[in-house]
């Protein structure tokens, strides 16, 4: 078991900066995810850790050892590819034992180890099948077993669930997490699916355009986003644009199209700053009394309602045609439906609203 240290790494391809000064430490035995849209540099980081790419600046340390100049075959890491890259011309057992084969382990021992791993992934006695005879989920597990065969200190997973259908994906999430807890090694997981990242990870690094925007556990990232990108990328969020008119007692009051609104000010916004106020759909509640002087409520016109069972989603007119304000109401027996065109008052707890400096928003 080893920690992985990314010491100020920058990776450039020509003029293109794929990873910009990434500096973080992944603890030993941790399930760590890199979350970000495609092209944000997360796969490049993974390749740098596994040894397929070299950082232009900075260094990768695994277990305290600088990995510079050490090839992928010599690193204590194992990589699971996005398309799994199982060997189609070998049996399942041969696939799993391939790493042992190249290390010169005797066939009998190999076979035994393969059986152990097949038990671990709950595919006992399937070793003689060909890869093509397995289902998508089974292949997934074989890929994990193959990577675990070398007893790596760090397992790297490059969006391994993206090819599976939704149901299987959800099942494999808990399966992966369970396997990780059983073997107890460091998992570094790459994904663009925030559901995967939030449910499985101990900690998450959210990335955009080569820059690590925030590192934290799921709740921290969801509740206290550090940048406007994280706020808009992780979960759903309503963004209100405006200028800061007052900053006091850890709150910022922002003058928006819907009047003055208050939110938590952790990033030290001062009067006159351009800012976003982010309010989650589930933080909004309908209210009867909206007062112009009140900075925790506002009004808007209802555009449509969508009933989803456990939630009722209400869409209201915003400053942006494309992105209406969204309110999510938990369905209880007494939930009230509203007519389209009606003006509705909404209030929120200012501790659930986050004021952040203006910046990049994730497009959905």
């Amino acid at each position: 078991m080893s920690s992985v240290e990314l010491d100020h790494i920058t990776i450039r391809f020509g003029d293109f900066v794929a990873v910009d000064n990434c500096d973080l430490t992944i603890n030993s035995g941790e399930f760590f995810s890199f979350l970000g849209p495609s092209g944000c540099g997360k796969t490049t980081i993974l390749r740098a850790i596994s040894g397929f790419a070299d950082p232009t600046d900075g260094s990768v340390k695994i277990g305290g050892r600088d990995m510079h100049g050490i090839g992928p075959n010599k690193r204590p890491t194992a990589l699971i590819f996005q398309n799994l890259a199982l060997f189609p011309l070998m049996s399942v057992a041969d696939n799993i034992a391939f790493a042992l084969e190249v290390r010169g382990v005797k066939p009998k021992e190999r076979r035994q180890r393969a059986e152990e791993l097949l038990n671990l992934i709950a595919l006992p006695d399937q070793g003689d099948k060909m890869v093509s005879e397995l289902s998508g989920g089974q292949r997934q597990r074989v890929a994990i077993a193959r990577a675990l065969a070398v007893e790596p200190e760090v397992l790297l997973l490059d969006e391994p669930l993206s090819a599976l259908d939704l149901k299987l994906r959800q099942h494999m999430r808990s399966e992966l997490r369970a396997i990780q807890q059983r073997v107890g090694i460091t998992f570094i997981y790459i994904t663009h699916d925030q559901g995967e990242a939030l449910t499985m990870s101990d900690r998450i690094a959210v990335m955009s355009a080569g820059i690590v925007q925030q590192v934290g556990d799921g709740a921290e990232i969801y509740n206290n986003p550090a940048t406007s990108f994280v706020a808009s990328f992780v979960g759903e969020n309503n963004a209100f644009h405006g200028k800061v008119t007052r900053a006091e007692n850890g709150y910022a009051i922002i003058e928006t199209n819907f009047g003055a609104l208050r939110g938590v000010n952790r990033r030290g916004l001062i009067v006159g700053d351009d800012a976003y106020l982010f309010i989650r759909p589930e933080a909004l509640r309908p209210t009867e009394n909206t007062d112009a002087s009140d900075d925790t409520s506002f009004q808007s016109e209802i555009l449509k309602e969508e009933f989803e069972g456990s939630f009722l989603h209400v869409f209201l007119r915003s400053e942006n045609e494309q992105k209406p304000i969204k309110m999510a109401l938990i369905n209880d027996a007494r939930i009230a439906r509203h007519a389209v065109g009606e003006t509705l008052g909404m209030s929120f707890d200012p501790d659930f609203a986050v004021a952040l400096p203006i910046g990049e928003l994730a497009d959905e």
Partner: protein, 431 residues
């Protein structure tokens, strides 16, 4: 393409092409071929070609001026290029000439026109089959006519004709169809046992040449594979875009130069005072020029290079379809480069390897120009003996028998190799 027939065509084509060689050496007066031993002429003595050998029934074209440098001399052959043999009806009978092909094409075109005009009822009937429905009437007829025509006229008939020929006596034109014109195994017997009543138990000279040809072809094929595999891998997996196109061009362009010219260029390079010797002596590696031609270095080099594309492209296609992640996965799991190739790349590329090796082996065993031009004085390629039977020896049935023995042996050899390496015929035709 299915290999055996394909390569046999190649072989026959070469047999036919070679007589029309431009003569590179000074025109000599109509010297009797037996005296021409200068230069690099191959001078094999065919055992048992008896002085009583009958006059060539001459279906073989003779070059005016002859070609002393490549004419193998058969001692005892009374035939001289100057002998004007009588025209025989066999000429019309044997060849599927240019005119026939031309007429066939015209006929197809006419049929297509006809079909166009009266497509109504005819197409209504034909549209019942799925093939026609999918391709349309005109194209279906074209495809069917072309492929069946190809198979029958280009492959089956000529080969069958030669096969039949190999079981006949070498008769005078006037005797053909007469009482003497019966089937015999003597042509095949000859290859094994030599002349009837000869002193030797077996026809060692020809058998030795035969086995040497097969073994040399295997060596050339292996050499070719060893040369091409790294290059094909590099082109398929390591370079992309402009670099790849440049490499392809570099490979293809030299083959715009015709085979004969290339062979003679090799001859010049490897000659006693050629580039290689000058270089090696100049650098002090050799004390005196080495006889590369005599040692067949030039021959093997020339043969290897001649069919390099037929190895490169199947290999390239096969390796190119391999998911690069599989290579990286194997590397990540600690596999050495050798292991990656043996366990991942080569198993995947096996059909391509089989296809390339089959092609190169068949064509090498059937090569004529390169052995003629580059072969050392002591070496003889089996095709050269075949060529001699047809051309100088004037014994077509004997030549046909030899050619069929070569073809069948090559097919059997290839099939055994495919069995050993567990490759099916379908794998080979896949690309």
């Amino acid at each position: 393409m299915s290999d055996p027939t394909g390569s046999s065509i190649g072989m026959l084509a070469q047999v036919q092409i070679t007589p029309s060689l431009p003569t590179p050496s000074k025109p000599e007066p109509q010297a009797a071929p037996a005296t021409s031993t200068g230069g690099f002429s191959i001078n094999p003595s065919l055992p048992g070609s008896t002085p009583t050998q009958q006059v060539n029934p001459t279906r073989t074209p003779q070059l005016p001026g002859g070609s002393p440098s490549i004419t193998p001399s058969l001692p005892g052959t009374t035939t001289a290029p100057t002998a004007t043999p009588p025209e025989t009806p066999v000429v019309e009978e044997s060849g599927i000439g240019f005119s026939e092909v031309f007429i066939a094409i015209i006929a197809v075109a006419l049929i297509m026109l006809f079909v166009r005009r009266r497509s109504g009822r005819l197409s209504a009937d034909m549209r019942l089959t799925k093939f026609v429905r999918r391709n349309g009437v005109a194209i279906s007829i074209y495809l069917l006519t072309f492929t069946t025509g190809w198979i029958i006229f280009m492959i089956a008939l000529p080969q069958l004709y030669m096969f039949d020929f190999s079981f006949r006596h070498n008769l005078l034109p006037m005797e053909i169809g007469g009482p003497k014109d019966v089937y015999t195994l003597k042509n095949y017997n000859y290859l094994l046992f030599g002349r009837e009543g000869g002193d030797e138990l077996l026809n060692w000279l020809h058998l030795e040449v035969f086995f040497k040809t097969i073994i040399a072809s295997v060596i050339v094929t292996v050499l070719n594979f060893l040369l091409c595999y790294p290059l094909a891998f590099f082109m398929a997996q390591m370079v992309k875009g402009r670099g790849q196109r440049l490499l392809f061009l570099c490979l293809l362009l030299p083959f715009w130069v015709n085979e004969i010219l290339r062979a003679f260029a090799f001859k010049l390079i490897f000659a006693e005072l050629g580039l290689v010797n000058t270089l090696l002596v100049g650098l002090g590696i050799l004390d005196q020029p080495y006889d590369f031609l005599g040692a067949n270095v030039a021959l093997y080099t020339g043969l290897t290079y001649a069919y390099i594309l037929l190895m490169i492209f199947p290999l390239y296609n096969a390796i190119e379809s391999l998911d690069h992640n599989q290579i990286e996965a194997a590397r990540d799991m600690g596999a050495s480069w050798l292991k990656i190739h043996l366990r991942v790349v080569m198993p995947h590329a096996k059909p391509g390897i089989a296809s390339g090796c089959t092609m190169v082996f068949m064509l090498t065993a059937g090569a004529l120009a390169a052995p003629n031009i580059l072969g050392g004085p002591s070496s003889l390629w089996f095709t050269q003996i075949i060529y001699q039977w047809y051309n100088t020896g004037g014994n077509w049935p004997q030549g046909a028998a030899y050619a069929f023995v070569l073809l069948l042996s090559c097919i059997i050899f290839v099939r055994i190799m495919m069995r050993v390496f567990k490759v099916s015929l379908g794998d080979i035709a896949q690309r």
